[in-house]
Symmetry: C2
Subunit: 304 residues, 2 copies
């Protein structure tokens, strides 16, 4: 992301970013000193009609599985986004950080795959599929950017450890990566199913998003819920990790917004533990609302 930003920074007057967004992207953009336009996200992803209309923006966007809300950018908005880039002479960084994991529905075409004007710079990572400790990702660039990208990479870190790159190249070339992904998708889908079921079993009609793909989902808490940040702290005391938008890997440019989104990562938690953690969360929320009951509560009463 650093590399793509530096590659494109000279062409961009202002930086547009989804809100809420990935913390790493907000750090990067906030460190540049340029004007930042946070653009709101809803259940169909980035609200394209709220993008600025002045020329020369750089937009960072996560269309497949918006981070952190999990929304998928609708086809209509994808087309609108590409038109915006053309009309405003803007560039787009498409971060397809977890597209290896899609459990429901047809495969998605990346924004870069729909782009006919070469305004979209696609990036991906092996952090989700193989391991974040590798520090390996990739970008897809038009050939005229290759030399500059090489020079920038040399200036930034003088290259990347060779061993992981060589091993990963073999892993991909010999077909192991595909098999690994198929197996992982099964494991993660089972965990996703388990988490969704546990949330439905323990809470009344939870409003979930981002369930179709990726390694996390979000729950829009009901109106009378305590704020997500408070739930995060209380849950942590019980050994359960759930996250508000203002912590973990996400960032919210709108500090006055209602703190109602709770993020669940499930990729590294066994199903038994998921069931136990969600049950624990139910007890926590019930206690927090002062409705502790000596009787076993019914499912309907558990959420509030």
């Amino acid at each position: 992301m650093n590399l793509l930003y530096r590659l494109l920074a000279h062409r961009t007057a202002q930086l547009c970013i989804e809100n809420p967004c990935y913390l790493g992207a907000s750090f990067l953009f906030q460190g540049t000193g340029k004007k930042i336009c946070p653009v709101p996200v809803d259940e169909d992803g980035l609200r394209v009609e709220e993008l600025p209309q002045n020329k020369g923006s750089l937009l960072y966007v996560t269309p497949s599985h918006q981070f952190p809300t999990g929304a998928t950018l609708s086809l209509k908005r994808r087309i609108g986004l590409l038109r915006w880039a053309e009309e405003t002479d803007s560039l787009i960084i498409e971060d397809d950080y977890d597209s290896d994991f899609r459990y429901d529905g047809p495969p998605l075409t990346a924004l870069a795959g729909l782009d006919r004007s070469r305004n979209v710079f696609y990036m991906g990572t092996f952090s989700k599929s193989v391991g974040a400790g590798l520090r390996l990702g990739f970008a897809v660039l038009p050939p005229e950017y290759w030399d500059k990208a090489r020079v920038l990479k040399a200036q930034m870190s003088n290259g990347q450890s060779w061993l992981e790159q060589a091993a990963l190249a073999d892993f991909l070339g010999q077909g192991h990566f595909d098999r690994h992904l198929r197996r992982l998708r099964q494991v993660y889908k089972a965990r996703r199913d388990c988490l969704v079921k546990a949330l439905h079993d323990n809470f009344e009609c939870p409003v979930l998003s981002g369930t179709a793909a990726g390694l996390h989902l979000t729950w829009r808490l009901p109106q009378d819920s305590p704020p997500a940040s408070l739930i995060q702290i209380k849950a942590r005391e019980r050994g359960v990790g759930v996250y508000s938008l203002r912590s973990g890997a996400s960032f919210d440019f709108n500090p006055s917004a209602r703190d109602e989104l709770l993020i669940f990562g499930y990729s590294s938690i066994r199903e038994d533990d998921i069931v136990a953690a969600v049950a624990d969360l139910r007890r926590l929320l019930r206690a927090d609302n002062g409705k502790e009951s000596p009787q076993r509560s019914t499912r309907r009463s558990r959420a509030r």
Copy 2:
């Protein structure tokens, strides 16, 4: 180096750097937009008396084996340098990039080891001793900088590949690194001896520096020699890699200076090949000076 620079940039108004210097450092400093003061180097290293006297500088320096000249900073100048830092409220980055390899004379105390005022930030690398493809180095910082350094590293690259770090920690902890260094020092010392002898055998009293340590040495060419850049090009055509100050890993801020320094890296060349390459260089320089002789030349006539 990037990390140290960013850690200290807020405290520094201007950037001082050895001239000639390491190319990577010149890239880093030139990319900052700050004022740069190149400070000349002679056979005793950085000319400390030419440092600027205004407050708040950051100096990048390679005292053990100046890159690229190979000069060792004298003790008198080390003391002068530390006094300069105190008096001008300046900070020093000491890059001890090849101090694992010292063949002659007593061990050197690092500048950071003499520093009582905590103005020196020491950095080292495993690129020379284990392999540049690891991308692993280290810095020694006062504890009050640790948290900021962690945050900066996270922002720059989100951490470093874990596998090399874990393997290297074992390699160090189990004593293999020390044994490895002892063995490498023998190999490199033999190559250094071979190169120095070959240069003396083929050229008349070559003025060499940087022979006591490191993995490269430099030859200050005689007055009537062709420029180092030309020798580099001609030697390359014959498959021999020698470098001027304006190429390879070094940089010269003074483009009008006489191009008289030729750099020889010897760590990865077998002794047979060193002997053959230097003999080839002699033939090249003789031919270049138009003094090709049908007779075998004597040693005296070979250099010019």
